[in-house]
Symmetry: C2
DNA sequence: CTTCTATCTGACCAAGCGTTCAGTTCAAGA
DNA sequence: TCTTGAACTGAACGCTTGGTCAGATAGAAG
């Protein structure tokens, strides 16, 4: 037996990425074998190497795709003159965006230590750029006297950590809807920094 | 060669736990082999099994020890009649306690998925009890009209996530001291919930 | 119908995994 | 000094790992 009937790279490729993402999120990068990913796709392990040079690239590409999408979406946010409105918008966007792809989010900050040093540096740089967007809003608001903030960098990290946490507990069909959760978090973020 | 000169279970035991904790925090449970832990201690892999029944127990005991210590320390916090003071005290305690043992904290919430189902349930129960302490403070404050909170459970999770995040970036000898960081986080937590 | 190439199998490699255990050596008590 | 048991070694177990590759088969093109 060799080539499968109906096989196509445009089908198998995404299937592999999807299976890898699901399994990495569930059990962790180190605990998932290439054979298990292959089995999930319905293929032998060797076939995976037609689509990725190695396991590391599977993880790295997954992370950069996620962060690239995040940066792009954040950059496309409608501008607002008022830092208060911008923070509210940013917080709601962040929560909504993250709740829509919990697996990618989870992987992007749980599997950092499984990246090679070069890949880690690249991912960190993307993450830094994203955090910089939030920090700019906070600094602006502080300069305008709208926010009372001790340290903009620390506050940025605190708010991001708070908002990222939502993916660890939120479950579809639970007590609260996504927009209720987003509103609640945005409210807390604003109150934590407003003058 | 067999028994080492100067060897003693009261020395080797803690050494093993310390090495395992450092390595688990650095590279993750799944990525660390028993041989590597043994090498770190200066012993052969087989010797580890005099101190732990298996690798899983090494992780589980580490987590329960950490959470047990956390629960005990939190329970010993001096009481305060006012929910505002209690929240301030709790937040400062949480930050200080976590900054003193970043490795244990990191492991306790990064390696949950590497626990067997029974062990996971036990750890989750301890975590739940801790979160309950914070939730009680928030609910009290809400009942007394001191806090304006939409959902106490959600707020609890948001505050814990925010405060836990500190261990991912704080480095000894950095720009801010531990108590400055603790004060800043406590301030944000209070402002996020106060009426 | 034939040819070509994209796709996949299945066997294989060297290395490493968690764990066990018979045997060896040291420390401490008699 | 002798004995006993705690502490440890080193080899071995069966299995899994990431990765490679020659060969086989399917779909697409002519």
């Amino acid at each position: 037996m060799a080539r499968k009937t109906g096989s196509h790279s445009e089908i198998t490729g995404p299937k592999i990425r999807a299976a890898a993402q699901r399994l990495f999120a569930q059990d962790g990068f180190a605990a998932v074998s290439m054979r298990r990913i292959a089995a999930e796709v319905g293929v032998q392990a060797g076939a995976l190497y037609l689509y990725t040079p190695d396991k590391q690239a599977l993880l790295f590409d997954m992370m950069t795709a996620h962060l690239g999408e995040l940066l792009e979406a954040a950059a496309a946010l409608p501008a607002a003159p008022d830092p208060v409105a911008r923070l509210d918008r940013f917080a709601r966007f962040h929560i909504a965006h993250h709740l829509e792809r919990p697996e990618a989010v989870f992987i992007a900050y749980m599997e950092l230590r499984n990246l090679t040093p070069e890949n880690f540096a690249a991912v960190e740089e993307m993450r830094r750029r994203y955090e910089q967007m939030l920090q700019a809003i906070l600094s602006d608001g502080k300069a305008q006297g709208l926010f009372r903030i001790g340290d903009a960098k620390l506050t940025t990290l605190a708010l991001i950590a708070m908002m990222n946490g939502v993916t660890t507990w939120y479950r579809e069909g639970g007590r609260l809807s996504r927009s209720e959760v987003a509103a609640h978090y945005a409210d807390m973020a604003l109150r934590a920094v407003r003058a």
